[in-house]
């Protein structure tokens, strides 16, 4: 290196100073953007927790609402929690097998053009607003038949399907091709290879994708307003009837004039938020674990 170049390193000139300033400026902007993202989550959690945590107690989870309550009556949202459990559980039961089969077909069997086509379809389906899915299911299954819990679950399953299938496709793609070859070279048919060698590698990924999809649809309100929202106050586990759910309960309570109803809405929102935070964190944990497992197998 020439001496002049070395000198430039030691005595910064104007151009170098300007570059350093721009560098610092951009770094600061990027840092601010990241800080804003974190802050928004923080503010949401904090404001919901502040208003909801004080109202959170066992009665909220176990007692049904009492209409036109006079005086200090212990009332809760048991019907909404039970309904949400049934609806989301059923939705998962519908979306999970279909999503896994779609992913297996796309990744293990389909020729390239079909693979790309199905992938695009899943992305489009994922982008459809939930209220559109809601009105579609309303027109398909509610008009003339009435609202039912399982119909709400079906609407949520439509929302879950692309999420489950997409994440499953990603995990299947992580399974090294050398394992499939090893099995096929033994004279094992393709479907046995998929079941016996490929799928066991993806358990962590399936759980992760499912948990994320559940977290996503547990808070969906619009499809349930169309399909499972005209309900009484008694707690029911029967998906053959319309069931109350947490998001719909939050929506309805927040429209009431009574401040006690608002408080319960906040408490329900807090429970929903806790559930989603917990689900996301456990999904993240499972994803890291399964990726590490597959990575080891690949070597």
């Amino acid at each position: 290196m020439r001496a002049a170049d070395l000198g430039m390193l030691q005595r910064p000139n104007d151009r170098l100073r300007r570059r350093r300033a721009v560098n610092r400026g951009m770094e600061l902007l990027a840092w601010l953007a990241a800080a804003i993202a974190v802050a928004i989550l923080g503010i949401v959690v904090w404001s919901v927790a502040k208003r909801g945590a004080s109202e959170l107690n066992l009665d909220l989870l176990t007692k049904p609402p009492v209409p036109f309550a006079i005086g200090p009556v212990q009332q809760g949202l048991a019907n909404a929690f039970a309904g949400s459990l049934v609806i989301v559980g059923l939705a998962t039961a519908m979306a999970l097998p279909v999503g896994i089969l779609v992913a297996i077909y796309v990744n293990e069997f389909a020729p390239r053009p079909i693979r790309l086509g199905v992938g695009l379809t899943l992305d489009v389906l994922n982008g459809i607003p939930s209220i559109v899915i809601g009105i579609f299911v309303f027109g398909l299954l509610v008009v003339g038949h009435g609202q039912k819990g399982w119909v709400g679950a079906f609407a949520l399953a439509v929302l879950m399907l692309p999420l489950v299938a997409r994440s499953m496709i990603e995990v299947l793609a992580l399974v090294p091709g050398s394992l499939r070859e090893a099995s096929l070279a033994l004279g094992v048919p393709r479907w046995r290879t998929t079941l016996g060698i490929v799928l066991p590698q993806t358990v962590g990924g399936v759980v992760t994708g499912t948990v994320l999809a559940v977290a996503r649809v547990a808070g969906e309100t619009a499809p349930l307003l169309f399909t499972s929202s005209i309900v009484g106050n008694q707690t029911s586990w029967n998906p053959g009837h319309a069931l109350q759910s947490i998001p719909v309960a939050i929506f309805e309570l927040s429209e009431q004039p009574d401040p006690a109803d608002h408080a319960r809405a906040w408490a329900a929102a807090f429970v929903l938020l806790l559930f989603i935070l917990f689900a996301s964190l456990s999904a993240r944990w499972l994803a890291t674990r399964s990726r590490r497992k597959i990575g080891r197998a690949g070597r």
Binding site: L179, R180, E181, A182, A185, L186, G187
Partner: protein, 291 residues
């Protein structure tokens, strides 16, 4: 200066080793008296629009080790993957010509590749054990293929044949991924021979292994050839000289418009091919003037 000397020393010692093994080899009976396993005629293989192999014709004989050598890109891997229809899995792959396996054309469209792979096993370049226990790696193929009688004995036999039993007999339940690379490759060999194939194809089985593990694999092939027929792809000429009875030399040919494909240049008894090759290109390759 020093580097050049080091290289020349290692090459000459490798050749000495090769020659030492070669001299131990019994002479091959004349080809007419050998039993054919594969009879390959005008095999041409194409990936998409790129030719990989053109007009390969040769025979593979029973209970011999047949080596396929040649420079990178000469189609030697493509060639052995044709022998058990592994290339069917590659999109855009097409082949023409016939591959008669004990007289039956296995390259034909109506032949089930699963049945072909059932009797023609394969060991890959990189060890690829299943992420299961050592025992399950060997037993899985047996279970799926319905060879469930005497399962523990079959597993032990395969591991013994693969010279791995003594090292793993106390930890059969341990993960196969806890084994060393050389042990993993021997496990893959055990897995392949457990289902009692007729032919074992090996695609550069030692290229990811250290010299000692390589030696173990070569020893193994030498001992097992009385039971199986082996076809081994290798880019290591010393290895071919050490283990193979017959050697096929593939090379790259270039067309007028710059297209390249692999071709079989010479196929002969290993000793003949290495000491008195009849083609100039073979001679250049085995003497190290090319590739």
């Amino acid at each position: 200066m020093r580097e050049t000397k080091g290289v020349s020393v290692s090459v000459s010692s490798a050749i000495e080793r090769a020659v030492r093994v070669e001299t131990k080899r019994e002479p091959l009976p004349p080809r007419e008296r050998l039993q054919q396993v594969f009879e390959i005629e005008d095999l041409t293989a194409v990936y998409g629009s790129n030719p990989a192999l053109k007009d390969v014709s040769m025979e593979v004989y029973k209970n011999l080790v047949t080596a396929v050598i040649g420079p990178s890109g000469c189609g030697k891997s493509t060639f052995i993957r044709c022998l058990n229809r592994m290339n069917d899995l590659v999109p855009g792959f097409r082949q023409t010509g016939t591959i008669r396996y004990h007289g039956q054309d296995i390259a034909a469209k109506d032949v089930d590749p699963v049945a072909v792979r059932r009797t023609i096993g394969m060991v890959f370049q990189r060890p690829n054990p299943f992420p299961k226990s050592i025992q399950d790696n060997v037993a899985w193929g047996l279970k799926v293929l319905g060879m469930k009688d005497n399962l523990p004995e079959r597993v032990e036999r395969a591991l013994t044949q693969a010279a791995l039993w003594d090292e793993v007999k106390d930890r059969l339940k341990a993960s196969a991924l806890s084994l060393s690379g050389g042990q993993q490759q021997r496990l893959c060999i055990a897995r392949a021979i457990a289902v009692e194939p007729d032919v074992v194809l090996m695609d550069e089985p030692a290229s990811a292994l250290d010299p000692i593990a390589t030696q173990a694999i070569e020893q193994l092939v030498h001992e097992l050839k009385s039971e199986y027929s082996f076809v081994i792809v290798t880019h290591n000429m010393q290895q071919a000289a050490r283990v193979a009875d017959m050697t096929a030399f593939f090379s790259i040919s270039r067309g007028d418009e710059g297209e390249r494909w692999g071709e079989l240049i010479e196929y002969d008894a290993t000793e003949k091919l290495f000491t008195a090759p009849s083609d100039k290109r073979t001679e250049d390759y085995v003497t190290g003037r090319f590739g």
